[in-house]
Amino acid sequence: MVITKTIKGAKGIITGAWSLLKGLFVTIKYFFGPTTTVQYPAQKLPMTERFRGLVDLHPEKCITCYQCVKICPTACLAVTHKEADKKKILETFRYNMELCCFCGLCQQVCPTNAIYMNKIYEISVYDRKKLYINLLNPERYSEWINPTVK
């Protein structure tokens, strides 16, 4: 009985060792294979065409219909308009990037494509006040880099 057990044990060890060796061949294959990572600050991956970055605005297109403010799940858009000879003109358009969950609902619901999401993805800031952006002043995203688009 003991002999059969040791033979079975030995056979188990040999098949086990062979499975370990096969595992090693897999890793050595990838050792000489291509690397798939990118050296981030030096090489930057281009963003895809539908990528949802920060919310941005073409002020002239906006007809202040408040659709985007209504649809936003986390209420991070605040718009006011003023009446000028029975035509609504956009007055302020503020965007609270701290609460934004980058869902893209505002971009999809806007009838005139005034509000859209640009391709900026490096959006960390040191000061919380920088997160409250006024979408009307032209150099709102000036110090953020506009990445390439694929």
Binding site: A75, A78, R94, N96, E98, L99, Y132
Partner: protein, 153 residues
Amino acid sequence: MKKMRQDEIFADIKAVFPEIQEEAGSGAAVIPKDLLLKVARYLRGEPLAFDNLHCVTAIDRKEKIEMVYILYSVSKRRALTLKIYLSPEDLNIASLASVWRSADWLERETYDMFGVVFSGHPDMRRILNPYDWKGYPLRKDYTHPEFIPKPRL
């Protein structure tokens, strides 16, 4: 689960428990509170073999709390929704932890969110909220103790 099979199950249960009615909208079986354990053991038993308590939850209809039990029979490929109406004053009901073991955590969550106490439950504590949390969040009359105002733009 096709509607027809639902009536078939319903007829089987009605034969044994006459007090059972069928709810108008969802076709769920409504039973009085004190029958729960007996019905549960019967459902768990051989003819119907509902061996899987899939989900236990509650709905706060303001004038009554609706307990919802969704049961499955994995062997017989069938489903059944069981409903019990509780008046908001006495919110305790028999625990099904002795019949289905999945009831343990599901009932703890219902207690945590609605305050429905399950008598006979092995470990009646809150599960998701901190153990010393006041109030039951999913009740319609629940007001958050300290509501952090959103920073104004």
